[in-house]
């Protein structure tokens, strides 16, 4: 039978972007080790509504670690202590009975807070819109096998394309840099011949957009790689920088 656990939570509560925020203590007494961390928050919310208190707002959608909607700091770590795991796939069995866990939103200047644990990550969408695509409008694409691509390049491109856009990299970075996120798209597309034509313009525009959004620069802490639920390598950041310099000099 599933083991019952008591978990104490200190959760960041903030009614809106301009309201004051603070940590509020709660206790969930009948947590199960098989619950996901978000289900623990669901149970807390049911209890809060029962006591006529407003539930804790947090984003989540697929709950299988692929949509990138969820993301909170669990005990000071983006997505919590289990490596390569988004918080929706983190389970209560990772913790011990009686633990106190601090739960906070992803914090960065470029991620303004919306409510409680919800932040606005639309800056990521603007970075992609600045150039994170191949300009291939629908129709007129050549046969898919017309252009052979080495398995190695395709596999490596896939390693970077796996980014789920959750923002953990930003939250973990002391500079709140979006370098890993931006590099993941730049490198994914630059490894494929389809992406070569626009490569220079793409890297310049995306990096410039990242700066304009208020993200910091990378100073090689590698915290981003450590918390990335998809294990995206910071080698991508080095590649992006080289590509940026090359493009700037051309």
């Amino acid at each position: 039978m599933a083991e019952r656990m008591t978990i104490h939570l200190s959760v960041w509560r903030q009614a809106g972007p301009d309201a004051p925020g603070r940590l509020v203590d709660y206790t969930v007494e009948d947590a199960s080790e098989h619950m996901s961390f978000l289900e623990l928050l669901d149970v807390l919310n049911e209890q809060l509504v029962g006591r006529n208190e407003e539930p804790v707002a947090f984003d989540s959608d697929c709950r299988e670690g692929i949509c990138g909607s969820c993301g909170v700091m669990v005990g000071g770590i983006a997505h919590g202590p289990q490596r390569r795991t988004a918080v929706c796939q983190l389970h209560v069995r990772t913790f011990s009975d009686g633990d106190r866990i601090v739960v906070e939103p992803f914090r960065a200047r470029a991620f303004p807070l919306v409510k409680d644990l919800v932040v606005d990550r639309s800056a990521f969408d603007r970075i992609i819109a600045a150039g994170g695509y191949v300009s291939a409008t629908t129709g007129g694409a050549p046969d898919a096998n017309a252009l052979p691509i080495s398995k190695r390049a395709a596999d490596e491109a896939m390693d970077y394309a796996a980014c789920i856009g959750c923002g953990a990299c930003v939250a973990a970075c002391p500079n709140a840099s979006a370098s890993l996120f931006t590099a993941a798209k730049v490198v994914h597309l630059s490894l494929l011949p389809q992406g070569h034509v626009e490569a220079d313009r793409r890297v310049m525009a995306m990096v410039d957009q990242m700066r304009q959004e208020g993200f910091g620069d990378c100073s090689n802490h590698a915290e981003c790689e450590a918390v990335c639920p998809k294990g995206i390598s910071i080698a991508g950041i080095a590649r992006m920088r080289r590509a940026y310099v090359r493009a700037a000099l051309r």
Binding site: A2, A15, G16, S32, E33, H34, D42, E46, V49, G50, N52, E53, P55, D61, C62, R63, E64, I66, C67, G68, Q82, Q89, H91, V114, K115, D120, R121, S122, D125, I128, A129, A130, G131, Y133, V134, S135, A136, T137, T138, G139, A141, P142, D143, A144, N145, P148, I149, K151, A154, D155, A157, M158, A161, A162, G165, H188, L189, L192, Q194, G195
Partner: protein
């Protein structure tokens, strides 16, 4: 009993040979000139594969597009969670695939309850989808020679499935999202995230706008357009527990139904056989384990329902490999609907395993013994990891426990060949429509349909509508129809908040899910369905008297969002039961216990039920009218599916 009308539903299928219909349509369809496209505003609801690809394509064509999504970013639509792959009749492996074979497999897999012409068109454009995705930079799996790799999937004897690891949906969706981002940057598409469509605005019989709620500020907004494209996915979350994302819902489609769009085949839901079982009452959603696992896993339960030994202590002679026993020629690889029902049968008989007794074993011990652990790790490593993360058990050592779960809905708003609903100018794309999968969808076909609709079908059929319709240019968002729709949406939100009862939204949703799962799930009976209709009506009444939603209307309020969706799911649930009751046959995912063969297999009735059921809303307190679109099968012979 509901009224029944043999109706005049015209699917507008072009004349001519099946193979020539789509080309003939394209040759003669009306066009909109570039100068006129600029003056047209198209509202696209949802940014999954269907909506994202449609918005990007229409934007590139020169239309002014407004794109809406419920998530904080267009990149998060639930198409992203699709694992296995996408079918296309490319015949790259030279194993005999053709457009005809993909068409035939799909229509047979759907148990002959889909429209021939739509399915054939889907197979025809399937190859273009792969070309388009590759041009966008989607990193499909490749062979060492640099060409694209294929794999096999259920229901087919050829390898036609393209894939990107176990994340094919993610990569195809990001391809569409990036194309959409390109059009946003170009100024062709205005993106409105964190918006929920709460009503459709119909002016003089034409869809002319939508009412949306800004989910951050709670503000209601009016949007005017020349046409509305609904690509809002399926309604599997009616069952509360499903593999759908938490935000997936039926509200946008349901509001269109209430405005006059017919809802087709709501009882056709797909229950996927291999999901991680429910572990407790707190469970918020279910996770799929890919169909591909059944290639190497063997499904079994203990022969004796009292046998509580750990699986490795149960010797061979005390195990029942029931799929291999009942279906010797297909064994563990029977289609989804058959495998799901068989698992339910074992558990109902008390032979289920695990704490809840609602699970069967999926055992890899034989395959590991035969091929070695490394080979199994290469094939399924990421799935085994995911299983272990969720259950805390190592499937290399202990058999997986699996159970069926709601996964996809074949039913949806009725559309004709042009993807137009029964409301002029309201088009429905992807899972939200009913059209291509009949009573059962084959694996790797959902991605294909979403992208076919968005990239390759709607650009033609929307042009046909716009070029042949005089849109009233005098209409603005101050029109009475906008005012009325906004005030009704607002009234509903305030009514929900005003209940101030004592039960949470989740409690009601769970209860609805329990009712639907028990009576409108894997096995249905007349008595059960009649009881479900009454119980759901009672639950609805209780909901409006006892639901408790805290917080305000004019703020970010998840509970309020979910309450509106649950209220709509309850109305839909009743219609699902009504539809299941009216379909007195078993086909695909719809199994009526009264209609089965002596061996317990689904018994179709082609004489009376080779039709699409389409339901017309007639008011909150009156029964809907049942229309039918007869399905004419001109090119395929209707046979019984047998997997013995």
């Amino acid at each position: 009993m509901q009224q029944s009308a043999r109706s005049t539903l015209d699917a507008k299928v072009p004349a001519g040979r099946l193979q020539d219909k789509w080309d003939a349509y394209k040759d003669t369809v009306g066009l909109v000139s570039p100068a006129n496209k600029r003056k047209r505003t198209i509202l696209v609801i949802g940014t999954g594969l269907a909506g994202g690809s449609a918005a990007a394509t229409l934007g590139a064509l020169g239309y002014q597009v407004k794109s809406f999504c419920i998530q904080d970013s267009a990149r998060r639509a639930h198409s992203i969670a699709a694992q296995g792959g996408i079918n296309a009749a490319k015949n790259y492996p030279n194993d005999g695939d053709t457009i005809w074979r993909l068409y035939y497999d799909t229509i047979k897999g759907g148990d002959y309850r889909s429209r021939e012409a739509n399915v054939y068109r889907l197979a025809q454009v399937s190859g273009n989808i792969i070309d388009q995705a590759v041009a966008q930079g989607v990193p499909f799996a490749r062979e060492y020679g640099g060409l694209l790799a294929n794999r096999s999937f259920g229901g087919a004897q050829v390898s036609r499935t393209f894939y990107a690891r176990g994340q094919t949906g993610q990569q195809l969706l990001l391809g569409a999202y990036q194309a959409l981002s390109h059009q946003i940057a170009a100024g062709q598409v205005t993106m409105l995230p964190r918006r929920e469509m709460l009503d459709l605005v119909v002016v003089d019989g034409h869809a002319r706008g939508v009412i949306t709620r800004n989910l951050v500020t709670g503000q209601l907004e009016r949007h005017l357009g020349d046409a509305v494209l609904l690509s809002t996915g399926g309604y599997g979350n009616a069952y509360y527990l499903s593999t759908n994302a938490k935000n997936s819902n039926v509200t946008a489609a349901w509001r269109c139904y209430r405005r006059g769009a017919y809802f087709a085949n709501p009882c056709f839901t797909q229950i996927h056989p291999t999901c991680i079982p429910v572990s407790g009452s707190y469970q918020s959603k279910l996770t799929l384990m890919s169909e591909s696992l059944r290639n190497d896993g063997r499904v079994w339960v203990p022969k004796d329902s009292q046998d509580r030994r750990a699986p490795h202590r149960i010797p061979e002679e005390d195990r029942d490999y029931y799929l291999e026993r009942r279906y010797p020629s297909f064994g563990n690889l029977v289609p989804r609907d058959v495998a799901s029902r068989a698992a339910k049968k074992e558990c109902d008989a008390g032979r289920g395993v695990g704490d809840t007794r609602l699970a069967v074993y999926l055992d890899f011990a034989d395959a590991i013994g035969r091929l070695g652990q490394q080979a199994i790790r290469e094939r399924y490593g990421n799935l085994f990891e995911m299983y272990e993360r969720i259950t805390g058990e190592n499937p290399y050592e202990v058999p997986m426990r699996i159970y069926p779960a709601v996964h996809y809905t074949m039913g949806g708003l009725w559309v004709d060949y042009e993807l137009q609903s029964t409301i002029n100018g309201l088009f429905v794309l992807g899972e939200a429509n009913f059209s291509d999968h009949g009573a059962n969808r084959l694996g790797a076909s959902a991605l294909m349909q979403g992208l076919a609709d968005g990239y390759f079908v709607i650009p033609f059929t929307l042009g046909a509508y716009l070029s042949g319709t005089r849109v009233d240019k005098q209409v603005t968002v101050d029109h009475d129809a906008f005012r009325e729709a906004e005030s009704s949406a607002q009234g509903r939100l305030l009514a929900l908040l005003a209940v101030k009862g004592d039960k949470t939204v989740t409690e009601f949703h769970r209860e609805l899910g329990r009712l639907l799962w028990n009576d409108v799930g894997m096995a249905r009976t007349r008595a059960g369905l009649e009881e479900a209709i009454d119980s759901i009506a009672a639950l609805r009444e209780e909901f409006w008297g006892r639901v408790r939603i805290l917080g305000e209307n004019n703020t970010f309020n998840k509970d309020l969002e979910f309450a509106g969706r649950v209220a709509d799911f309850m109305e839909l649930g009743e219609l699902m039961a009504r539809d299941a009751l009216a379909r007195k046959e078993s086909c695909g995912g719809h199994f009526r216990e009264e209609y089965q063969t002596t061996e317990g297999e689904a018994l179709r009735n082609d004489r009376d039920f080779a039709h699409v059921s389409a339901w017309e809303h007639t008011g909150s307190n009156s029964t809907p009218v049942h229309h039918q679109e007869a399905l004419a099968f001109e090119t395929v012979e209707l046979t019984r599916r047998s997997y013995k």
